[in-house]
Symmetry: none
Subunit: 101 residues, 2 copies
């Protein structure tokens, strides 16, 4: 046990379930990721973002997730949102009308 605890690379390499939403909340996908870097790669493929730059925020309040250690501290099944250049996080209520169409 001692050895496992002192091996941060093992901890970091365990894949964890993440949920990733588009900025307009129209699509949400489940993705397994070992790290923030891994998640960023998979998001690009899964949501077909081409080569446009993007970043991840928490879907609940728009907190920017840009460091590996903060990513590792988040709960499993945290919902992320992808924001591309020019896109801004908005609270869910203000996007409610989209669902009523």
């Amino acid at each position: 046990t001692q050895q496992l605890l002192s091996e941060p690379s093992l901890e970091a390499s365990r894949a964890r379930p993440c949920r990733v939403s588009t900025a307009d909340r129209s699509v949400r996908k489940g993705i397994m990721a070992h790290s923030l870097k891994d998640l960023l790669c998979k998001v690009q493929d899964t949501l077909m973002l081409e080569d446009k730059p993007f970043f991840l925020v928490l879907e609940e309040d728009g907190t920017v997730v840009e460091t590996e250690d903060y990513f590792q501290a988040l709960a499993e099944d945290t919902v992320f949102m992808v924001l591309q250049k020019g896109q801004k996080w908005q609270p869910p209520s203000e996007q409610g009308s989209r669902y009523q169409l």
Copy 2:
């Protein structure tokens, strides 16, 4: 257990997730910090505050957080707000119009 409890350095050294907002609530970032001092350093880098003096308050009600022990007593994922000279905490409702753009 006895040994762990009497070792304040261990407790203080455990990094905890914090969320830090700018005064206008336009940017919120996730930051891991071992202590208030550590958070203040990382906030300066992460939010690119240059060398202007600043302090941290609770985003929810503007409570000034300036002691290490008060910081340690806060819940994980507490939302802090950075205030620089001349900036004043405002309740979210008065900034609501920004989100409607």
